[in-house]
C-alpha cells in the first residue's frame, strides 16, 4: 500500500472524538473525497505496475494485485521498445540526467549573477532588460521555438545536448532571475558597501559574500529547475534527436506507440519511473517545494 493511500484513512476514522458534528462530517467528508480523486492515479499506477497482464485483462483496475510481480518494472527499465530500439527507459533516464545536471547548474549560475547585478550593480538600462525578461515569461513558447532552431543551427548546437541545455537556461532565466534579484535586494547595502571599501570587486563580492548567503534560495531554485527540466517535453522533442531524447519524450513514445500488444503494466511502471524523480524531490523537500512554486507565482 502506498503512503498516500494510508494517509487517506486518517480523517475518516473515529478520530475526531470530541465532536462528530455535522460540520466536521461535511468538512472531513469533502476533503476525503477530494483526496481520493488526487490519490487514486498514484495508487492505480503502483497497483497496475505490479500485476501481470492476465490479471489486468481479467480484473479490476482498482483491485490490489493478487500476485505481485516486479517484471513490468524490469521490462520498462531495460527492455521496452521505442521504434527499433529495445533498450528500455534506462536510456531516457540517463539522457535526462545528462541534460538535467548542466542545465540546472548553468541556469542557476547565470540567473544568480543576473539577480546580483540587477540588485547591486544596476547600470543604465538594466531595468529595461529585466522588464523584457519578465514580459517574456508570458510569451507562448510556440512564438519563439522556430527562430531558436535557426539560432542553434547557426551555433552548431541543434540536435545536441548542449543546445537543449542552452534552451533550458534561456527559458529558466526570467523566473530564476526574479527569485535571485528579490533575494539579493534584501541583503543590506551596508554589507555591500563595506566590501567595496575593502577593495572587493564584482566577482569577489559575488563569490565571497552573496553566494554563501544565498543558500536557501539556491535550494529553492534547484527544486524548481530540477522538476521543471525533468518534466519538460516540448523542448526535448524539438531540440534533440532520438538518441538523446529525454525520459518524458521516450516514455510518451513507448506508451503511445501503435505497434505491438499494449502492455499496460509495463506502461504504468514506465510512467511511474519517469515520475519518480520529481515525486522524490517533492516528498523530500516538502515546504521548500511549496516555497519555490509560490515564489514563481507571486511576482515581485
Amino acid at each position: 500500500m502506498t503512503d498516500a493511500a494510508r494517509l487517506l484513512d486518517g480523517p475518516r476514522g473515529p478520530k475526531p472524538t470530541r465532536r462528530l458534528s455535522r460540520r466536521n462530517i461535511i468538512l472531513y467528508g469533502t476533503l476525503s473525497v477530494m483526496a481520493l480523486y488526487y490519490a487514486l492515479p498514484l495508487y492505480v499506477m503502483v497497483v497496475t505496475s505490479l500485476k501481470g497482464m492476465p490479471e489486468i485483462r481479467m480484473g479490476n483496475i482498482f483491485a490490489p494485485p493478487v500476485e505481485i510481480t516486479f517484471e513490468p518494472w524490469v521490462k520498462a527499465w531495460s527492455e521496452a521498445c521505442t521504434g527499433i530500439n529495445c533498450d528500455g527507459l534506462s536510456r531516457g533516464f540517463w539522457n535526462s540526467v545528462q541534460i538535467l545536471v548542466p542545465s540546472v547548474i548553468l541556469s542557476i549560475a547565470v540567473a544568480s549573477v543576473n539577480g546580483y547585478a540587477l540588485s547591486k550593480w544596476r547600470f543604465p538600462g538594466s531595468e529595461v532588460f529585466f522588464t523584457i525578461l519578465m514580459i517574456g515569461v508570458f510569451i507562448p513558447y510556440q512564438v519563439m521555438i522556430y527562430p531558436i532552431v535557426i539560432l542553434l543551427r547557426e551555433l552548431g548546437l541543434y540536435g545536441s545536448l548542449w543546445g537543449l541545455v542552452l534552451v533550458h537556461t534561456i527559458f529558466g532565466m526570467p523566473l530564476l532571475t526574479l527569485l535571485f534579484r528579490n533575494y539579493f535586494t534584501s541583503v543590506p547595502d551596508e554589507l555591500f558597501k563595506a566590501a567595496r571599501v575593502d577593495g572587493a570587486g564584482f566577482w569577489g563580492i559575488y563569490f565571497r559574500i552573496m553566494l554563501p548567503m544565498a543558500l536557501p534560495i539556491l535550494v529553492v531554485a534547484m527544486i524548481l529547475q530540477v522538476t521543471g527540466i525533468w518534466n519538460d517535453f516540448l523542448f526535448g522533442v524539438i531540440y534533440t534527436k532520438p538518441e538523446i531524447y529525454p525520459m518524458t519524450v521516450q516514455l510518451n513514445n513507448i506508451v503511445n506507440s501503435v505497434q505491438g500488444v499494449k502492455e499496460y503494466n509495463v506502461n504504468m511502471a514506465a510512467t511511474l519511473l519517469t515520475g519518480l524523480v520529481p515525486l522524490t524531490i517533492y516528498f523530500i523537500s516538502g515546504k521548500l517545494f511549496v516555497r519555490g512554486i509560490a515564489a514563481g507565482a507571486v511576482k515581485g
Binding site: F129, I132, I170, T271
Partner: protein, 308 residues
C-alpha cells in the same frame, strides 16, 4: 535608497574612465547573457516570427510577402477552428473549476483541521508530475475496456458509459479531468497563502456580528483576496494557452481532430507538415491571445496603483 552605479568611495580616487560605457564593465559583461536573452530571444525571435507570419514560407523561412494570406487560410482551416473552440472550452472550464476547487480546498484546509499537512501533500503532489505522466495515467484510468467504465459495468450498471477519450463530443472533459488533477493543488497553495495572510481580527469581527461562515467568505474574505485571485487567474490562463503535452500524451489530438489545441497545430505545421508560414501565423495568434488577456491585467495591476 539604493547603491548608485559606483560607490562614492571609489569614484573619488580613481581617475574617471573616458567612456561611461566602460564604467562597471564587469557587471555589464556579467549581465550579457541576460541582455542577449532579452534582446535576441524574447524580442528578436518573437519579432522574427511575427514578421515571417506574413510570408509564404513553406519548408524553409523565406521573405516572400503574402500579406494576411496565412491568417486568412488559418481561419478557414477546420482544424484550427476546432483547436480554438477546444481551447476556449477547456480554458473556461479549467479556469472556473480550478478557482472554485482551489479556493474550496484552501478554505477547508484553513478551518483548523487535523491532518492538514497530509491533505496538502496529497492535493499538491500531482503538480510535481509532468503533463506526460498525468496524461498517460488518466489515459489508463479512462480506458473504456479496462478502466472506470468497465469497473462500474462489472458492478452491475451494464449500460454505464464513460469513454471520454474515444468519444469526440466529450473528449475535452477527459482532458479537463486530468488537467484539473494536475494543476488545482497549485492554486490551492496560492489561495491558502492568501487566506493565511488575512488578519484573524476579520474573523473575530464577523463572529461577533453573527455573520455565518459562508457569508463571511463570500462577502468579506473573497473581496479581500482579490490580488490573490488575480495572480491565480494570470497563472492559470498563461498555462492554459500553452496546453500541449497533456493532449499529446492523452489523445494525440484524437479521436480524429476532436481534441486538437492551438499549440499542437503550431508544432505540427512547423515540424511535421513543413508549412512554416501557417505555424508562424498560428503562433502569432497565440501571442495575440496572451496580449488580449494580459493588457487588462497589467492595467489593473500597475495602472491602478497610480490612483492610490
Amino acid at each position: 535608497m539604493r547603491t548608485t552605479d559606483t560607490p562614492p568611495a571609489l569614484r573619488e580616487d580613481s581617475s574617471r574612465p573616458p567612456n561611461p560605457l566602460f564604467r562597471n564593465l564587469t557587471a555589464k559583461l556579467a549581465s550579457l547573457p541576460m541582455v542577449l536573452t532579452a534582446l535576441v530571444v524574447f524580442v528578436g525571435c518573437t519579432g522574427w516570427t511575427i514578421v515571417h507570419s506574413f510570408t509564404g514560407s513553406k519548408l524553409l523561412p523565406k521573405l516572400k510577402w503574402v500579406g494576411f494570406d496565412q491568417y486568412e487560410k488559418l481561419w478557414n482551416t477546420r482544424r484550427w477552428l476546432v483547436s480554438i473552440e477546444n481551447l476556449a472550452l477547456y480554458g473556461i472550464f479549467s479556469l472556473c473549476f480550478t478557482l472554485v476547487i482551489g479556493f474550496t480546498l484552501a478554505a477547508l484546509l484553513d478551518r483548523k483541521i487535523r491532518f492538514e499537512a497530509a491533505f496538502r501533500t496529497i492535493f499538491l503532489y500531482p503538480f510535481a508530475l509532468s503533463f506526460i505522466v498525468t496524461g498517460l495515467v488518466w489515459q489508463w484510468i479512462l480506458n473504456p475496456d479496462l478502466g472506470i467504465q468497465s469497473v462500474v459495468r462489472s458492478m452491475g450498471f451494464t449500460s454505464f458509459e464513460f469513454d471520454p477519450l474515444y468519444n469526440a463530443s466529450i473528449v475535452i472533459y477527459g482532458l479537463l479531468i486530468a488537467g484539473l488533477w494536475q494543476g488545482t493543488g497549485f492554486v490551492m497553495v496560492i489561495m491558502l497563502a492568501g487566506l493565511r495572510g488575512i488578519d484573524e481580527d476579520v474573523w473575530k469581527a464577523a463572529r461577533v456580528d453573527g455573520i455565518p461562515v459562508w457569508k463571511t467568505y463570500v462577502r468579506v474574505i473573497i473581496p479581500m483576496m482579490r490580488p490573490v485571485f488575480i495572480t491565480a487567474l494570470v497563472v492559470i490562463t498563461s498555462g492554459i494557452i500553452k496546453v500541449y503535452d497533456l493532449v499529446v500524451a492523452m489523445t494525440a489530438g484524437g479521436p480524429g481532430i476532436a481534441s486538437e489545441v492551438p499549440a499542437k497545430y503550431v508544432y505540427d505545421r512547423m515540424f511535421s507538415s513543413q508549412n512554416l508560414g501557417q505555424g508562424f501565423a498560428a503562433s502569432t495568434m497565440m501571442l495575440l491571445a496572451v496580449v488580449v488577456v494580459l493588457i487588462p491585467w497589467a492595467y489593473l495591476e500597475f495602472g491602478g496603483k497610480k490612483h492610490d
